[in-house]
C-alpha cells in the first residue's frame, strides 16, 4: 500500500500516529511487489463454506434439486411443462442447461440419496447436500477468476484488490449462496465480467456476456437500459457526424444486434423447435405474484405498507381520527376502516399473501410500479448518453438496479446484491463512500431474516466485513474537490444510522428469543420483519437519494481517472 503511505506523507496535517507507522513500515524486509492474488482468500473462505455445509438451507435448495432432476430425467421439451413439484423451472434456458450439465456429474451415491427424483417434495440426505453445496462453491470460482483478471489487468492494483476481495467475501454471497442456497456467485461473476470488459472497451464481449447472463437469470433484465444505452452511445452512435445516416454505425449496430440475437436464438432454439415458447414465457414472467415478497424487501413499498399499517392502527383511535380529519378532509371514518378490515382478512403483513391490499392508502398496481421504475431508469441513463465513460456506465447500472429494487413489483431482498456489486466499483471517491456504507450496512442486514438460526455467524460476519472494508475503502478513496462540498450533516446521520443497526438487530433478536417465554410476543410476529424492512428500507432509500444527487448534480466525480488528469 505504498500509494496510501505516500498520500499520507503528502497530507499537510499528518498525525503523530502516521509517523510511527512509517518507521515501522520502513523496517519491513522487502524486495518484492505485492501479488494481489485472491488465492489465500479463496482457500480460507472455502473452508468456512465447507463448515457451513450441514447448516440450515431454504426451500431454494429443493428448488434447485428439483431442476437437476427435471433436466436430467425429462426430454428437453418437457422442462418447462413439468409440474409435479411446486418448484417448477422458472429460470431461462441457459440456467436449465447449466443444471443439466451439473446433473451429469451426480455420482451414484448422490443419485441413491434421491437427488434426481422428480417428486412433490424432495427427500434427500447429506450426500445431496454435499453435492449441491460443492457445486455452488465450484461455480463460484468464476467470480474469483473474473475478479482476479480484473486485478491483473489494472495498473494500480490496490483499489481493485479491495473491490475484488470485498465482493468475494461479501456477507450477501455467504448468506444467500452458501447458507440459504442459490447460485449467485457464478451469475455475479458474469455481471462483473461485463463491468470489467467495459473498463477495457471490449464492447462486443460485453454484449455477448450480457446476452448470456440474461439467459441465465432474467432478473438482470433490470440492468438492460444502462447497458443498452452505453453500447449504443459508445459503439453505435457517432456524435461527431452531422449526417443523420452516418450518425449511426450500421455495421456495428448489426454486429451487436447479431451477437445478442444469436445468443438468444441458440439458447431458446430447442424450445422454439418443440413449440413450447409460450410455456417458457409464462414460467419466466409470472404476473400473478403480489406487490411485496414473503418478507418485505427494504424498498419503497415496505415503507408504504408500513405507513398503511400505521395509519390503520392509529386512525382507529377516535381522538386521533378527528384530529387528522381536521387537516385532511378525506380521512376515512373509523367504521369505514373497520369495514375494510373485515373485508380484507389478509393484509400485507401476513407474509405469504399473493395480493396485497391497503386499507387507507391507494392500492398499487403493477402498472404504477412499472412506470415508476421506467421513469427512474430513463432518468439514470441520460447522463450516459452525454458522457459514455466507465464511471457513468457503472453509475447507471447501479441506479437501474436501485430503481428496480425500490419500485419494482414483487422484489426479493436478495436483489440487493445487484445494487451493491456494481456500486463497489465506484467507491474510490470519498463522497460516494458514505452512500455506499449506508447501502451495504442496511442491505446486508436486511438479508438476516432469511436465516432463522445462524444469528452469531451472520451478525459477526457482516459486522467484521463492514469494519474491514469501511477501513479499507476509507484509506483508498480519494477526495478530489475540497471538503466544503461534502455534506457533513449527512455523514453524521449516516454514522448514527449505521450504529443504530446494531441495537435494531439485537432488539429483533431478543424479540424472537423471548417469543417462547411470553405468549404476547407471538402476536407481534410480523413486527420483527417489519422493523427490519422499514429500518433497512430507510437506509437503502437514503443511499439511493445520496447517489442520485451526486450522479445528477456533481459532474466532477464522474470523470474517468485519466480524463480528470
Amino acid at each position: 500500500m505504498s500509494e496510501i503511505r505516500n498520500r499520507n506523507k503528502n497530507k499537510s496535517k499528518s498525525k503523530p500516529s502516521t509517523l510511527i507507522e512509517e518507521e515501522f513500515v520502513e523496517k519491513l524486509p522487502t524486495t518484492q511487489t505485492r501479488n494481489f492474488s485472491l488465492w489465500n482468500i479463496w482457500v480460507a473462505s472455502t473452508i468456512l463454506k465447507v463448515l457451513l455445509f450441514d447448516t440450515y438451507h431454504s426451500t431454494d435448495f429443493d428448488v434447485h434439486r428439483n431442476w437437476l432432476a427435471i433436466t436430467n430425467k425429462l426430454p428437453i421439451k418437457d422442462w418447462y411443462i413439468e409440474s409435479t413439484s411446486q418448484w417448477t423451472l422458472d429460470y431461462p434456458p441457459i440456467f436449465a442447461y447449466f443444471e443439466w450439465i451439473l446433473s451429469q456429474f451426480v455420482p451414484q451415491v448422490v443419485k441413491d440419496d434421491g437427488c434426481l427424483d422428480i417428486v412433490v417434495k424432495g427427500e434427500y440426505g447429506l450426500p445431496t447436500i454435499v453435492f449441491q453445496r460443492s457445486s455452488v462453491i465450484i461455480t463460484e470460482i468464476l467470480l474469483f477468476a473474473v475478479l482476479q483478471t480484473y486485478i491483473n489487468l489494472s495498473s494500480n492494483k490496490t483499489f481493485p484488490f479491495i473491490v475484488a476481495s470485498s465482493i468475494v467475501l461479501s456477507p450477501g454471497l455467504l448468506i444467500v449462496d452458501h447458507i440459504h442456497f442459490q447460485y449467485n456467485g457464478m451469475l455475479f461473476g458474469l455481471l462483473i465480467a461485463i463491468i470489467v470488459s467495459s473498463i477495457h472497451g471490449k464492447n462486443y464481449l460485453l454484449a455477448f456476456l450480457f446476452a448470456i447472463l440474461l439467459c441465465f437469470k432474467h432478473i438482470f433484465l433490470y440492468l438492460a437500459p444502462a447497458i443498452f444505452v452505453y453500447l449504443l452511445r459508445s459503439e453505435v452512435l457517432d456524435v461527431s457526424q452531422s449526417n443523420l445516416i452516418k450518425f449511426i454505425h450500421w455495421g456495428k449496430l448489426l454486429k451487436l444486434g447479431g451477437i445478442v440475437l444469436t445468443v438468444f436464438i441458440i439458447s431458446f432454439a430447442p424450445f422454439i423447435y418443440y413449440n413450447v415458447i409460450p410455456n417458457v414465457l409464462t414460467r419466466l414472467f409470472p404476473f400473478s405474484r403480489g406487490l411485496t415478497h414473503a418478507y418485505w424487501a427494504p424498498n419503497v413499498w415496505a415503507i408504504y405498507s408500513f405507513l398503511d399499517k400505521f395509519l390503520t392502527l392509529s386512525l382507529q383511535f377516535p381522538y386521533f381520527n378527528t384530529l387528522i380529519s381536521k387537516f385532511f378532509h378525506f380521512t376515512p371514518l373509523i367504521e369505514i376502516i373497520q369495514e375494510r378490515l373485515n373485508l380484507l382478512e389478509n393484509t400485507g403483513t401476513r407474509g405469504l399473501v399473493q395480493d396485497v391490499s391497503f386499507v387507507i392508502l391507494p392500492d398499487i398496481t403493477p402498472k404504477i410500479t412499472f412506470l415508476l421504475t421506467l421513469f427512474y431508469d430513463i432518468l439514470s441513463i441520460l447522463p450516459i448518453l452525454l458522457q459514455p465513460n466507465f464511471k457513468r456506465f457503472v453509475g447507471g447500472l447501479t441506479l437501474n438496479a436501485y430503481a428496480s429494487f425500490l419500485f419494482g413489483w414483487h422484489v426479493h431482498e436478495k436483489a440487493i446484491m445487484l445494487i451493491i456489486f456494481p456500486f463497489t466499483f465506484l467507491v474510490n471517491e470519498r463522497r460516494l463512500l458514505n452512500c455506499f456504507l449506508v447501502l451495504v450496512g442496511s442491505g446486508y442486514v436486511s438479508l438476516f431474516p432469511l436465516l432463522p438460526n445462524q444469528n452469531l455467524i451472520k451478525g459477526l460476519y457482516t459486522f467484521i466485513w463492514f469494519i474491514i472494508y469501511s477501513l479499507s475503502f476509507m484509506e483508498v478513496s480519494k477526495q478530489k474537490t475540497s471538503t466544503r462540498n461534502r455534506i457533513f450533516l449527512f455523514d453524521r446521520v449516516a454514522l448514527i444510522y449505521l450504529i443504530g443497526l446494531i441495537p435494531m438487530v439485537l432488539f429483533v433478536f431478543f424479540l424472537n428469543i423471548f417469543k417462547d417465554k411470553f405468549e404476547i410476543l407471538q402476536k407481534f410476529e410480523f413486527l420483527s420483519l417489519m422493523i427490519y424492512s422499514v429500518y433497512c428500507g430507510i437506509g437503502v432509500i437514503s443511499s439511493w437519494i445520496g447517489l442520485s444527487w451526486l450522479y445528477f448534480f456533481d459532474d466532477s466525480i464522474w470523470l474517468d481517472d485519466n480524463e480528470a488528469e
Binding site: S37, Q454, S472
Partner: protein, 549 residues
C-alpha cells in the same frame, strides 16, 4: 511499489509467520493505530469459525437412552437449576451424575438461569432429558462460545502480549501468534464440535500462567484453584505450578558459598500468602457443599470427582498403557491396584525432572516447556486417561508458538496435527469428519504449513504465498519442517502414516477378528509421536535452562 530493502539478507527475520496466510490477511492492519482492528478481526474470525463448527453434530446426538457429553452438560444444568445444592452430587447417578468439581456446577447453574430466561422447557427437571431441539443446541453452543470468549481468549491475548514483549515481537506478530493459539484445531473440535467446556478450565490455567508471568502469585494461585475447581484434569499441571511457586519462594540461585542457610533463603511472607489464597479459594469453592448440605455431601463430591474404581484407560487412547496393552495384556496378570501403583510410579518419574528443574530455575520462559513436559507425562503414563486429555498438554505446547524460532513452530504445528489425528476415532464416532478435515486444513493453511503445496499446479497469476503483504523472496514460503534431518524424517513419515491410515480406514473394513485395527494403528502412531515429542520437550527444557528470563 518497490520499497528499498532495509533488511539485511541472512539476519534473523523478526516475523516468523511471514508468508503465511494469517500474516497476509492481517498485514493491512499492521499499522499501530489499526492494531485494535487486527485483534478484533482475530477474535471475531475465531468466533465465526467456532460457531461454524458448532453447526455440526455433537457427541451422542440422536442416541437414546444415554446420549453423550452434550446431554451430560445439559443434564447438569437441569439438576443444578432445579435441585437444592445438597442433592447435586447424589441425584440419579446412573444417568450422568455430576462428577466434576463444584465450579462446573456453579457454571451450569449460571447458564441454567440464563437459559431459563429464554425457554424453561430446555432444562425442565427429568422431562427435558434427551431434549435435542435446534434452539437448545444453539443455546448450548452459544454458552460454550461465551465462556471461551470471556475467559480463554483474553488470557491468550495477555499471554502473547507479555511474551511478545519479552522476545521483542512486532505487535502484529503478537496478534498472529494469538490467532495461531486460538486456531488450535483439537480444542475447537472438542469444545465446539464434540461439546465440552474445556476452554474454561484451560482459560483459568492460562490466566494463572499469565499472573505468574506478571509476578502476581496470589492471583495466579487463585486462578489455578479455579481451574482445578472447574475440572480436576488440570491437576496435570499442578506439580509444575507448585514447584514454580515454591522455587519463587526459595532462593536456589545464590551460591551456597555465601553461607546462606535454607531458612534465610525462604521468602516466608510470599509462601504464606500463596498458601492462604490457595486454601481460601478452595474453601470458598467447596464451602457451599457443606453449608447447604453436610460433610457427607463434601465427601460424596470428592468421591464423584475421583472415581478410582475405573480402569487404567478409557476406550483407546494414545498413551503408554493402551499402546503396550496391545502386546501385553496387563489385566490378565495384574490387579487394578498394582496397575495404579505402577502408573503412579511411571508418572512421577515422568514429571519429576521437569518439576525439580523448574524448582531450581524458576524462569518464566521455562514455564510452558515444563508444563508441557509434565502434562505430557501425565497423558502418557497416568491412569484413567481418555483421548480428550491431550488438550491439557496441548495448551502449554501451543503457547510455545510465541517464539522467533522457526524450528519450534514447525514442531508445534506438527504435534498439533498429530494430536488432532489422535482424536480422529472420537470425532468420527461423533460424525464430525467434515469438521475434522476442514479445521485441519484451516489451521495449517493459516500458519503457512501448506504453502509449499501451491506453486506446482497453479497458474502464475495466482502466485502462491502472500498476496498483499510485502515479503522478501526468501521469506515467501515458510516451510513447515524444522532444520534437523532426524525430525524431518520423523515428521514426514508420520504424515505418510497418517495418510495411509486414513485411506485404509476409509476404504477397507477391518477384519472381524480385529475390529479396532485402524484405531490401534492410530494410537500406535500417535503414541510414538507423542513419546518422541515428550523427549524433545525434555531436551529443550534442559538446553534452555540457562535462559535469561
Amino acid at each position: 511499489m518497490v520499497i528499498k530493502p532495509h533488511y539485511k539478507p541472512g539476519s534473523d527475520p523478526s516475523l516468523v509467520f511471514y508468508g503465511s496466510a494469517i500474516y497476509d490477511f492481517l498485514s493491512p492492519f499492521r499499522k499501530a493505530q489499526n492494531q485494535w482492528a487486527a485483534r478484533y478481526i482475530v477474535v471475531i474470525f475465531s468466533i465465526i469459525i467456532r460457531s461454524a463448527i458448532g453447526f455440526g453434530a455433537y457427541s451422542g446426538a440422536n442416541t437414546p437412552p444415554l446420549y453423550g457429553d452434550f446431554e451430560a452438560q445439559r443434564h447438569w444444568i437441569e439438576i443444578t437449576l432445579h435441585l437444592p445444592l445438597k442433592d447435586w452430587y447424589w441425584y440419579d447417578l446412573q444417568y450422568w451424575g455430576l462428577d466434576y468439581p463444584p465450579l462446573t456446577a456453579y457454571h451450569s447453574l449460571l447458564l441454567g438461569k440464563l437459559g431459563n430466561l429464554m425457554n424453561p422447557a430446555w432444562f425442565e427437571l427429568d422431562s427435558s432429558r434427551g431434549n435435542e431441539s435446534i434452539d437448545l443446541k444453539s443455546f448450548m453452543r452459544f454458552t460454550v462460545i461465551l465462556s471461551e470468549v470471556l475467559i480463554y481468549i483474553p488470557a491468550v491475548f495477555r499471554f502473547t502480549r507479555w511474551n511478545g514483549k519479552q522476545i521483542k515481537q512486532q505487535p502484529i506478530d503478537q496478534t498472529i501468534v494469538a490467532l495461531a493459539i486460538l486456531f488450535q484445531p483439537s480444542l475447537m473440535l472438542i469444545d465446539h464440535g464434540h461439546f465440552q467446556y474445556n476452554s474454561v478450565m484451560l482459560g483459568f490455567t492460562l490466566l494463572s500462567i499469565v499472573h505468574l508471568l506478571y509476578d502476581n502469585y496470589m492471583l495466579a494461585s487463585i486462578f489455578f484453584v479455579l481451574s482445578l475447581g472447574f475440572k480436576q484434569m488440570s491437576l496435570h499441571y499442578s506439580p509444575i505450578i507448585f514447584f514454580y511457586l515454591l522455587g519463587r519462594c526459595i532462593d536456589f540461585q545464590t551460591p551456597s558459598s555465601s553461607g546462606a542457610t535454607l531458612i534465610s533463603r525462604i521468602n516466608f511472607l510470599r509462601l504464606m500468602l500463596i498458601g492462604i489464597s490457595t486454601i481460601v479459594t478452595f474453601i470458598v469453592l467447596f464451602a457451599p457443599l457443606i453449608i447447604f448440605g453436610d460433610f457427607q455431601n463434601f465427601l460424596q463430591s470428592i468421591y464423584r470427582i475421583f472415581p478410582f474404581q475405573r480402569g487404567i484407560f478409557e476406550d483407546k487412547v494414545a498413551n503408554f498403557w493402551c499402546f503396550s496393552n496391545i502386546f501385553i495384556k496387563y489385566r490378565t496378570f495384574l490387579s487394578q491396584e498394582k496397575l495404579q501403583l505402577y502408573s503412579l510410579i511411571l508418572t512421577l518419574t515422568g514429571f519429576l525432572p521437569a518439576g525439580i528443574l523448574i524448582l531450581i530455575n524458576p524462569k518464566k520462559s521455562l514455564l510452558p516447556w515444563a508444563l508441557a513436559a509434565c502434562a505430557m507425562s501425565f497423558f502418557l503414563f497416568s491412569f484413567q486417561v481418555h483421548e480428550k486429555t491431550i488438550l491439557i498438554p496441548l495448551l502449554p505446547i501451543s503457547l510455545l508458538y510465541s517464539t522467533k524460532n522457526n524450528d519450534i513452530i514447525a514442531m508445534i504445528s506438527w504435534i498439533n496435527n498429530i494430536a488432532l489425528f489422535s482424536l480422529w476415532p472420537l470425532l468420527k464416532k461423533d460424525g464430525l469428519a467434515l469438521q475434522y478435515g476442514a479445521s485441519f486444513l484451516l489451521s495449517n493453511w493459516l500458519m503457512g504449513n501448506l504453502s509449499f503445496l501451491t506453486p506446482n499446479f497453479l497458474p502464475k497469476f495466482l502466485t502462491p504465498g502472500p498476496s498483499i503483504s510485502l515479503v522478501s523472496e526468501k521469506n515467501k514460503k515458510r516451510h513447515g519442517l524444522p532444520s534437523n534431518w532426524f525430525w524431518d524424517l520423523v515428521i514426514l513419515s508420520s504424515y505418510i502414516g497418517i495418510g495411509t491410515i486414513h485411506i485404509l480406514d476409509f476404504y477397507i473394513i477391518p477384519p472381524s477378528r480385529y475390529p479396532d485395527i485402524w484405531v490401534l494403528a492410530n494410537i500406535s502412531l500417535s503414541f510414538g509421536c507423542f513419546g518422541l515429542f515428550w523427549l524433545w520437550i525434555y531436551y529443550k527444557l534442559f538446553t534452555l535452562r540457562k535462559v535469561t528470563y
